[in-house]
Subunit: 384 residues, 2 copies
C-alpha cells in the first residue's frame, strides 16, 4: 500500500465529490470523478455524466486539449480504475497513456469483468506509475450498486417502508394517509430517482393506483442541482403473478418503461390495450406459489444496478425473509397506530433470535417530523 | 413581566443546576435551588436534598449564619416560590424576611395549595421586592411530576417499552432476551430511581419473577454523583386483580415497600406469609373487568409524584388507551422481530386516525446500540 500525501488525499476527495455529481444520471454506468494535477495545481477535472457519453478521464483530458494544455508529466486521480475496453467510448487507460501522464492514482479497481485490473496493467505497461487504494472503501460505496451487480449479477435491493413508532403502516381497515410527512415523501422521491428500477406488487397497483414515477416537483433541494430533463425514470416493475392487471391503471398512462412480471400469459384483449412502453417477463413460481424473486432479480440484474421495492407488507416481507435485501429504509413517524394496525413486513413466525433478519443501522436522521432509519442487512446470502 | 438582566439569568440558571442535584433524592418534595448574591457575587448557594431536611433557602442562609455573613440587602434567586407554611421545617419566606434580603427572584409559583402565592405575599408584605417568572417553563419542567400532582392529585405517569424497529417486544413464543442492550437497561435503572413508584402486572411477576428494585451497580455514570445510601427504592406496585400472587416471588425478598392492588381479599395463608413491607390496596373493577387504573393513580397520588409503568403490552396498553400517560419512553433496538412477534402495546382497534393516542417526540437519543424515543402524550384528559 503506497503512502498517501495530504495532497493525494485532498485530490481524491475532490474526485469523489465530482463522481457523486453523477449519482442520478450515469446509470447503469458507475459514477466516476477525475482530477488531473501538475505540481500543486489542478489543471483539469471532470466526471462521468451520462452513460454513452464521455467518461470522467476523457472529459477532463478533452478540456485540456481544447485549451491546448499538455498533461505530460501530470498526475491523474480517478475514483475508479480507468476502463481498458472499447465500449461506446474509447478506453480511458489509452487516453491517459496518449496524454503522457506520469502517475495515475486509483481509488478502487473496477470489478466489471471487462476491466478488472486490465486498465491498471495497460497503464503500467506504458511506464506510468499507478497507485491503487486511496479511499478505496469510500469510492466503493459511491458505486455500491454497480459493484454488487458486477460481482453477483444481481442488483442492489433497497426496501422502503413507512411506519409508526409501533411498526404499523396503517390501521386495521387500511387507513394510512398520511403516516409520514411531506419531507419523508420527498426523500422517497429522491430514492426513486436514484434507483434503476422500482418493484411493486399488483395489490398496491389495484388498491392505491399509484403512478410510481419520479415527480420532479417533489424532489426538494435536488432540483437545485438537477434539471428536469436529467431525471431518469426508473423502470417500473409490477409483480402480477396471475396476469390480472388491466390497462386502466394510472401507471400505464405515463410514457416510461414498465415491466410486468407474471407466471401466466395476459389475455389477448389486455395485451392489445397495454401501451408500447409495457413489456412482460414470464417468471416461475417459488415453492410457496409466489413469483420467484431471485429469478426476477437475476433478470433485472442484466440491465439494472439497483432496485427499489415499494410494496405492501407481503412482498416487502418476502424480500426480507428471503435475505435478498441490501438496505431496509424505514421512515418512522412519531405516531402510535396500535396493535390492531397493519404490520410493516409480513415475516415468518421466527422461534429463535438467531433466525431473525439482521442488519446494522448505518443512518438515522430526522426527515421533517419523521425519522429515517437505514438498516444495512448483513445476513444476506449473496456477497455484495 | 420584569426585565431580566444577564446576571439575573446567570444566577437563576445556577439555581436550576443546583435544584437538579436533588432529582433522585427530594421526593415527594420538589427539587429547589437557591443562590444568594450581593453586588455581582454569590455569597451562598444550596439546594433541597431530602424531604424532611432543610429547604434550599434555609440551607443557603444557614451557611451564611455559620460564617457570620449578613444577607441584608442581598438578592435571593429561588427556582420555586418560597414556602409559607410550617411543615417539617419552618417557612422559607419567613427565613428570607428575617435575613433582611432586599429582593427575591422566583422562577415559578408553587401550585401546592399550602403555598400557592402566599409565599410571595409574605415577602411583599415585609417590603421585599419580588420578581416572578424568570425561566418559568424550565423551572416548571424540573418539577413537572410534583406540579402535575399538586394540580390534579394524580402522579406523573411514564410508561416504558423496549421494542424492535418493527414495534415488537418478543417473538411469538415469548423469547425476548435481550432486545435492547446494556446501556438501555442502565437507563431504565436511572428512570426507576427517579420515580416514586413502579407499577407492573401480576403476569410480569409470575412469568419473569423480577425484583423490580433499583440496582446501584447498574446506574452507570449516576454512581459518580449519588452514593448508594442516597438511592430511594420506588414503591413497587403490583396489579393483581384476582389476588393470585403468593409469597414465593423474588420481589418480596427485597425489604422495600410493596403495594399489592387487588379486587379480592388474599387468602389468609398467603397474607400470613407476606413480609411486613407489603401492604394491600383494594381497588374496583372498571367496565372491562380490569382494575380501575384511574383509581389506582388517585390512590398513589396521595404520596407519589410519579409512577413508572414497566408492564406487559396489556397493562401498558390500557394506560395508553385510557389516556393516563404523560410520557411514553420507547427503547428501540436496531432489530426486526417479525410480524408474528408480540406487539409493544395492546390497544383498541382504531378505525380513524383521530382516535389514535397522540404525542410529540421530545427526546430522541442514541443509548448504546439502541434509540431512546420519548413521546410526550398530548391528548391526555387531565391537564398537567
Amino acid at each position: 500500500m503506497p503512502t498517501w500525501s495530504t495532497f493525494d488525499m485532498q485530490m481524491m476527495t475532490r474526485a469523489m465529490q465530482l463522481a457523486e455529481r453523477g449519482r442520478y444520471t450515469t446509470r447503469p454506468n458507475p459514477c466516476v470523478g477525475c482530477v488531473i494535477t501538475k505540481g500543486n495545481t489542478i489543471i483539469t477535472e471532470d466526471y462521468h455524466k451520462v452513460a454513452g457519453q464521455g467518461h470522467a478521464e476523457a472529459n477532463a483530458l478533452n478540456t485540456l486539449k481544447q485549451q491546448q494544455v499538455s498533461a505530460q508529466g501530470a498526475t491523474a486521480y480517478v475514483t475508479l480504475e480507468p476502463c481498458s475496453h472499447y465500449g461506446r467510448t474509447p478506453p480511458c487507460a489509452e487516453a491517459l497513456i496518449n496524454a503522457k501522464v506520469a502517475r495515475v492514482v486509483v481509488a478502487v479497481l473496477d470489478p466489471n469483468p471487462q476491466v478488472a485490473g486490465r486498465g491498471i496493467n495497460m497503464l503500467e505497461q506504458a511506464g506510468i506509475r499507478v497507485d491503487v487504494g486511496l479511499f478505496e472503501a469510500q469510492a466503493y460505496a459511491i458505486n455500491r450498486s454497480f459493484m454488487k451487480r458486477m460481482k453477483t449479477s444481481l442488483p442492489w435491493v433497497t426496501v422502503k417502508v413507512a411506519t409508526s413508532l409501533d411498526g404499523k403502516t396503517a390501521l386495521s381497515n387500511g387507513v394510512s394517509k398520511w403516516i409520514t410527512g411531506p419531507k419523508a415523501r420527498q426523500d422517497v422521491q429522491r430514492l426513486r430517482a436514484q434507483h434503476c428500477a422500482l418493484i411493486t406488487g399488483v395489490n398496491t397497483v389495484t388498491m392505491d393506483d399509484p403512478s410510481l414515477n419520479v415527480r420532479y416537483d417533489e424532489l426538494g433541494s435536488l432540483k437545485n442541482s438537477l434539471h428536469e430533463t436529467q431525471i431518469h425514470q426508473p423502470l417500473r416493475v409490477v409483480l402480477d403473478t396471475h396476469a390480472s392487471l388491466t390497462a386502466e391503471y394510472r401507471l400505464f398512462a405515463i410514457d416510461s418503461p414498465i415491466l410486468l412480471v407474471t407466471t401466466k400469459p395476459y389475455p389477448e384483449l389486455v395485451k392489445s390495450q397495454l401501451p408500447s412502453h409495457v413489456s412482460v417477463f414470464k417468471a416461475d413460481l417459488d415453492d410457496k406459489g409466489r413469483i420467484n424473486l431471485q429469478q426476477v432479480l437475476v433478470h433485472l440484474g442484466e440491465s439494472c444496478n439497483s432496485v427499489f421495492v415499494e410494496a405492501g407488507a407481503t412482498l416487502s416481507g418476502s424480500f426480507v425473509a428471503q435475505k435478498l435485501v441490501d438496505e431496509l429504509v424505514i421512515y418512522q413517524a412519531p405516531k402510535i397506530l396500535g396493535s390492531q394496525g397493519r404490520n410493516m413486513l409480513n415475516l415468518p413466525d421466527y422461534l429463535q433470535m438467531d433466525q431473525l433478519p439482521v442488519g446494522e443501522v448505518v443512518e438515522q436522521t430526522r426527515v421533517g417530523q419523521d425519522t429515517k432509519i437505514v438498516l444495512r442487512m448483513t445476513g444476506n446470502e449473496q456477497t455484495n
